[in-house]
């Protein structure tokens, strides 16, 4: 371990890095935050007095019958994008971990790209940004169809839950871009492993929250 890493790493008596203990404790607290938001959504589910509704047709003020508002194909695509961003993130962490091992002479394209932390961090940030683009599209479409945070109980609980999740994704993208900037500036090495690991843990947590949201809000009627 380099002297640089020793100067900035504080281990607890358990032998664990205190930054990693902290991020797991933070993720634990975030579980409770999102559970309360999901519980709120489920409690209000089916109790809206006026449309739009998530899974059933509704009649607007002009007497027109309109379809359910949730767009499953678009959300399925954004879910796939977020899942793939988790894959890219874990490969970014592995690339940083592998930097202290020499590349074999007969390494193929996969062996070479596995060690490119810049590539994987960039891919993760781009996929995260794409997910945010899908969310912006969905929110805009909903508002155009008459669903805002003030329209009904579904709108209030839906925008609060998915808005909180989107804010977390935004923070994650900014975090990833700062890591990418550091990687381009001076290069990330094994000494930065914990810094990349905690960013990865945060990113994967954002992904597992979406896994729960996608099933509970979008697929289960």
């Amino acid at each position: 371990m380099s002297s640089h890493a020793v100067a900035h790493t504080h281990y607890t008596t358990t032998g664990l890095d205190n930054r990693k203990v902290a991020i797991w404790a933070f993720i634990g607290s975030e579980c409770m935050l999102f559970a309360s938001l999901i519980a709120t959504y489920l409690i209000y589910k089916g109790r809206s007095l006026v449309g739009p509704f998530p899974h059933t047709e509704w009649v607007n003020e002009a007497g027109q019958t309109l379809p359910a508002i949730l767009d499953i194909p678009v959300t399925s695509a954004s879910t796939f994008v977020l899942l793939m961003s988790s894959l890219a993130m874990v490969l970014a962490l592995q690339a940083v971990q592998l930097k202290d091992t020499p590349l074999p002479a007969d390494a193929n394209w996969w062996g070479r790209i596995q060690r490119s932390s810049k590539t994987w961090l960039l891919v993760t940030a781009m996929l995260g940004t794409t997910f945010l683009g899908f969310q912006a599209y969905e929110f805009t479409a909903f508002v155009n169809e008459g669903l805002t945070i003030r329209t009904n109980l579904f709108g209030s609980s839906f925008f609060t839950l998915t808005g909180f999740h989107g804010a977390h994704v935004t923070v994650g993208v900014l975090w990833l871009m700062s890591l990418l900037f550091i990687d381009m500036k001076r290069g990330l090495g094994p000494a930065d492993e914990v810094s990349v690991d905690i960013a990865a843990l945060y990113w994967h947590f954002v992904d597992v929250v979406w896994i729960a949201i996608f099933t509970l809000i979008y697929l289960i009627e």
Binding site: G28, M32, S36, I72, V90, T215
Partner: protein, 106 residues
Amino acid sequence: MAHDVKEAARMHHPSGWTYVKVGALLTIITAVEVWLYYIPAAVASPLFNPTMLTMSAAKFAIVVMFYMHLKYDHKIFRALFTGPLVVAAITVVAFLFLFFKIKIAL
């Protein structure tokens, strides 16, 4: 000691191909979820919701175990995550019992 703990965790991390295979498995489970959603008979079935919840829980567990390395990491991290997760799950279930008048027949 600190270095040993870190090294021990690193030694057990899966390979890059394992991560890719896990990503493919997550994609397949998601595709099955969406496919089932578009089959009216499946949606009408009483098994639809439990099936969806099981598949979602499986995806959740796979990401946590493999991508977040909780399967290979220290048990303190496991406790820090699963403790609040259990509290959160109990809270959600308790709210559903309170507001939806769900009852357990004894």
